[in-house]
């Protein structure tokens, strides 16, 4: 069955602080260590598409408001 939710992370806004990754209850986020944005920073992305439960933890902790969260409509 499809994920409860998903997130979109702005590559250029993200500063790669990793706080979202740390606080995702379902470990579906990660830093992209192989690529950097124009500021030379690794950015976070959704690694595991189906695990997101739209709990908003990442968007709450994200200092730079780089994350959009979407929730499955019941």
């Amino acid at each position: 069955m499809p994920a409860k939710g998903y997130v979109e992370i702005s590559i250029e806004t993200c500063k790669g602080c990793n706080l979202c990754v740390l606080h995702c209850p379902t470990d579906c986020l990660a830093l992209n260590t192989s690529d950097t944005n124009t500021f030379g920073l690794h950015y976070a992305y959704l690694v595991d598409e189906d695990k997101c439960i739209a709990c908003l933890n990442c968007s709450v902790i994200c200092p730079d408001a780089a994350i959009k969260v979407f929730k499955k409509v019941a």
Partner: protein, 178 residues
């Protein structure tokens, strides 16, 4: 002889220490030197740079706007300083990080994959700046490698002296790249 140089990149790429080492080495060789860093809060996260002047006579102005030598380790710096190079100036750019090459044809351009080399051949990206330095002195011989090594041992705190051999390797690797 007066050489006016700029070293620029992201904070943390070691551009300031590059400049310092070079200035120190030159001083050891009896030259007059000046080293002027960018400073202030805008540095945070952003890019850092330092201007280094080396000369036989006392240096009148430590701040210069056009350069004989430019070393850039990120794109913003390349964009900012390419245009400020004097004709025929030496312009070294790090081509692992930077994807857009310089465009001027009236300067001597050297592309250096220092990051990649540092990662793969010395597996320590930190010494990337020493590779660049090695290349630079090979190109224009401002100072002797020996002077740089002296500079290293005199400026590096004791507890880091074990790193000197690695830095020496990096210098030589740099020399070999041009």
């Amino acid at each position: 002889m007066l050489l006016e140089m700029i070293f620029a990149g992201f904070g943390g790429q070691g551009v300031l220490s590059m400049g310092t080492l070079l200035a120190y080495a030159a001083m050891k060789e009896g030259k007059e030197v000046s080293w002027m860093p960018s400073y202030g809060p805008e540095m945070r996260g952003g890019t850092a740079n330092c201007m280094v002047n080396i000369s036989d006579q006392p240096i009148s102005s430590p701040i210069v706007s056009r350069y004989d030598v430019g070393v850039v380790l990120n794109l913003p710096s390349l964009k900012k300083f390419e245009s400020r190079m004097k004709n025929g100036g030496i312009f070294i750019w790090e081509c692992t990080n930077i994807k857009q090459p310089p465009t001027r044809s009236d300067i001597q351009v050297f592309a250096l994959p220092a990051v990649e080399k540092a990662n793969h051949e010395l597996n320590n990206v930190k010494v990337m700046n020493m590779i660049v330095l090695g290349a630079l002195i090979k190109i224009n011989g401002i100072v002797k490698k020996e002077s740089l090594l002296v500079a290293l041992s005199e400026t590096l705190p004791e507890r880091h002296h074990h790193l000197i051999p690695l830095n020496k390797q990096a210098l030589e690797l740099g020399e070999s790249l041009v």
